[in-house]
Amino acid sequence: MEIHDLIHYFFNGHVFLETLPQLVRGLWVTIQIAFLSIVMGFVLGLVLAIIRVAVKRSTNTWPIRLLNLPIAFYVDALRSIPPLITLVVVYYALPYLGIYFPRFWAAVLTFAVVLSAFAEEIFRAGIESIGRGQVEAARSLGLSYLQTMRYVIIPQGFRVAIPPLTSRTIAITKDVSLASVIGVADLLKAARASQAFLANPTPLVSAALLFTLVFLPLVRISMYLERRLAK
């Protein structure tokens, strides 16, 4: 392997400049999918966690507790099945049932539900970390169930949840590149297309560098948060 080859194929300045606009456009799509999935995933995860805790705490009668079984199955299934398989099933299999999503939304939906499963577990651990006494105190002060959640439980639970939530969010944002498999024009797809067109893998290396540029600060922040909470 000669150094000249390495520069020509991996760090080709000419190819880099020529393909950069396409890569940036791809990165923008990646960011959009990530943003929508994170917002939807968090909201869905929080709702599921609140339902699960509410059902568990409100009663001991088993028929009502059974309501939590579908949520538990949903969470476990999405944690067991690789996100790429979920994505392929959503995009290629659901249309057979007449359920059709455009590529972009198939990706958003997949990453949102996968994230919601992890978020549910994390939020639930957060909520359950707060003693029952606080709920009882809030209720005896006259706060409604929703007010107790909104002003007492969620703000505290959120702090416990932040480190695992950050690392999960980074993981799901990295998974967004899987969308290229179903043809979404994201950063990775743009890089692959340019690589094939120019018969030079520089765009792929540039994409890797762009990803590193975006994720490295996030990875560092998440490691910092983990360490700080551990103390």
């Binding site: 790429l84 998974d175 994409a207």
Partner: protein, 224 residues
């Protein structure tokens, strides 16, 4: 409603298609299991080696390992797969899909395992290393008999969860045309014009990994 149930059975749980696709999926499952086993063992070994090296507290070695870990934690794994399989051949490094997948999963997984093992090693007081040294134990002996047995408690929950993630990541090898479970299911889907094999692939992973998901939760609660 009846129509939907009918469509669901015909397209998602079609027994005839399952029968026709059985050999394709069986081959896929075997490749997935082999890839998981080889990559998991290698990733753990490399992670352990890197974490031990950091215990030497050599500045240069530390810096190299930190760069390695940060880089691999920042890169989406699918990008890594493509770099190894589609970019490296341009500079004369080419390997069959299976070994490209092993290399990717090992280098990527080792970065996470290094962090996990290091946290385990660091959880043990420095005095213990010194005491072991004073007793005449070598570096290897100290690691083997003093540090590692204690670190297991700190390490087990995140290591289990990371192993789970690594096994799930093996399906990305489908993008470099390795005939693992997902790739084979996609082939069968195309061949029989029916998505039952895709659903089967999802169900096989569910059956395979559900116990591991439960174990992860259990370990986190027990040691957390």
């Amino acid at each position: 409603m009846e129509l939907l149930v009918d469509a669901l059975i015909r397209n998602f749980f079609n027994v005839e298609v399952m029968y026709k696709a059985r050999i394709l999926l069986w081959i896929g499952l075997k490749v997935t299991l082999q890839l998981s086993a080889v990559s998991l063992v290698l990733a753990i070994l490399v992670g352990l080696l890197l974490a031990s090296l950091r215990n030497l507290r050599n500045r240069a070695i530390d810096a190299l390992i930190i760069i390695y870990v940060d880089l691999f934690r920042s890169l989406p794994t699918i990008v890594l797969f493509m770099l190894v399989y589609f970019a490296l051949p341009y500079v004369g490094i080419s390997m069959p899909p299976f070994w490209a997948a092993v290399l990717t999963l090992t280098t990527n997984g080792a970065a996470y395992f290094e962090e996990i093992f290091r946290a385990g090693i660091e959880s043990i007081e420095k005095g213990q290393t010194e005491a072991a040294k004073a007793l005449g134990l070598s570096f290897t002996q100290t690691m083997r008999h003093v540090i590692l047995p204690q670190a297991v408690r700190v390490v087990l929950p995140p290591a289990t969860s990371n192993s789970l993630e690594l096994i799930k990541t093996t399906v990305l090898a489908s993008v470099i045309a390795l005939p693992e479970l997902l790739k084979q299911a996609q082939q069968a889907h195309g061949l029989f014009a029916n998505p039952t094999p895709l659903v089967e692939a999802a169900l096989i992973f569910l059956l395979l990994l559900w116990p591991l998901v439960r174990l992860t939760g259990y370990l986190e609660r027990k040691f957390g």
